[in-house]
Symmetry: C2
Subunit: 377 residues, 2 copies
Amino acid sequence: MFQFSINKNFFLQALNTVKRAINTKNAIPILSTLKMEIATEGITLIGSNGQISIENFISIDQENAGLIIDDPGSLLLEANFFISVISSLPSVELELKEIENQQLVIKSGKSEITLKGKDSHQYPRIQEVSPMTPLLLETKVLKELISETAFAASSQESRPILTGVHFVLNDQKQLKTVATDSHRLSQKLIQLENVGDHFDVVIPSRSLKEFTTVFDDTVETVEVSFSHNQMLFKSEYISFYTRLLEGNYPDTDRLIPKEFISKITFNVSSLRQAMERARLLSNATQNGTVKMEIKDNRVRSYVHSPEVGQVDEELETISLTGEDLSISFNPNYLIEALKAIKAEEVELCFISSIRPFTLKGTEEDNLIQLITPVRTH
Amino acid sequence: MFQFSINKNFFLQALNTVKRAINTKNAIPILSTLKMEIATEGITLIGSNGQISIENFISIDQENAGLIIDDPGSLLLEANFFISVISSLPSVELELKEIENQQLVIKSGKSEITLKGKDSHQYPRIQEVSPMTPLLLETKVLKELISETAFAASSQESRPILTGVHFVLNDQKQLKTVATDSHRLSQKLIQLENVGDHFDVVIPSRSLKEFTTVFDDTVETVEVSFSHNQMLFKSEYISFYTRLLEGNYPDTDRLIPKEFISKITFNVSSLRQAMERARLLSNATQNGTVKMEIKDNRVRSYVHSPEVGQVDEELETISLTGEDLSISFNPNYLIEALKAIKAEEVELCFISSIRPFTLKGTEEDNLIQLITPVRTH
């Protein structure tokens, strides 16, 4: 039966990291617990929701952990409840000790709290990722990839593969990340210096969004490894596993147009604000669209809702070339696309009123986005 | 048909004040609108949910309002939608103009938005409060009264009168404020220097909580007036009306005990933290209580949950006098009571294990609270 002492704040931070994977209303009751494995060199905390699993290791050598292990062992504890109890304790010095019948006694200051735990053998095995040469990526770069693409993935389960983000690492050390819900698409290409084994996988966008909250900015790099149905992001102390989506991702390369009849450059934030105004009224229309009209060297946005009213405004442009055009689309897609652009200016390129248009931040050649118009007649 | 121009930010602030009274899912559809009355000296914005009504006046003389009125008039607008539209506008200079069929045209920069409004005659009349000598109160003092008592009012409609706070102003210039849900009670007495007409009213605690958010700290004093079923809090620009609860408030004076067998002084925050720990486990027990035990000059808190575990701790005391005692109560009541105490130390006074105990902050003689124990056998 294990026994250890630890710094409360350090312990809480690790517990809260692992908790991110835990859904207390999981259909599999045991997954509402977290697993504590106490070994001589440190403690491993494990949480999982069946899709994502997070392991956080606390080493006896870590500064500020205050970790002293007297005896090893393991136990399952109701995650939310255990974390609430730990955070309520009066002293930063905690002593945790297992007693008979999977009970845990926690001492802190003059408080003594006894909690019922569960046998750790009831916990499912977190699948291991088969050995491959891991890809070493800067956390910052990976988070950027995610924030620039994952939002474009589908949130609907009608085509499950589209709820994921397609990651492809090819021979030319090029990493392509692309997501689409069939109405809009976002693709980022980056050139790597180091490279691991090639891969071609579809990662659930929800897992990727969770990834960005688990690895904070103090974690500089992560090792990325894949197996046939699982993927692992690993830093010094945290291992983040996610299941992969099965199936073939559609060929998106052929969707990206190359030739255009009109191009407009906007200031990103002023275009976004105009679209937010348009959205207020387009939400009250039947097809939810805004009309953008290029005419006489001016650009205008227009929404008419028979119930609510109308918005009509001239959009400020930085440059405008090509033919007149009128195109209708969901302003929400443009707003979300603009949020992903870090440049101050954005170029929209059009082929026709019924073909997708592209967006690129100026001087951001490696991120391209597509929005499909809505036919309004 | 009215026409005026106004500063966007000033207008938004007033709109958001009035919005606090508006419930967009009101059973009376017209109450999801706000009323704009444009007169030569300024604009009055009005919102109401039937219980609370708020009027905010914007004067042409107010600095920063930028208000210029060309023509008077009035109109109803869907509150949430109108406020979203105003806040989305590009320029701080707004021009608002009524056109045919109760439509409103808003111009700001290069945007022009047209909204459908409604005839202002459809709006119900906000009842006026009959003239009396108003009581002038510091906003800070009134907010303090509210935060110290309103939480103890009942949230259940089984005895509607207990969902209110009892305000009594008597001949001796004494203002008594008391709330109870029959399990706990909080009473504050303050001595006034100025005084208005006497009153004895029960104000819904929900209205009082809303009051504290509407009047910010820049409003130094409010005038308080009452009529038989309504009450008005009035500052220079804002009028806040609330309906009163009908019925007789129970006689609470007789509930407050004067003689005790034991008294304990605690540090407020350390007692509160101990009760928060106790609550984690008491939530998982049948009667939801913590047991506090005075024995051998020590105080101990104890909770045992057969399902979850137990907490057992010695409470740090500052002083302790009187007889041994064991008393069980809902720790949540004690936590909420302690939140209302501004002093660093609190005195708990006990009569017996089955009679209510009192709490007072040290040097806070005008605020007294009562908590009823739970019989556990």
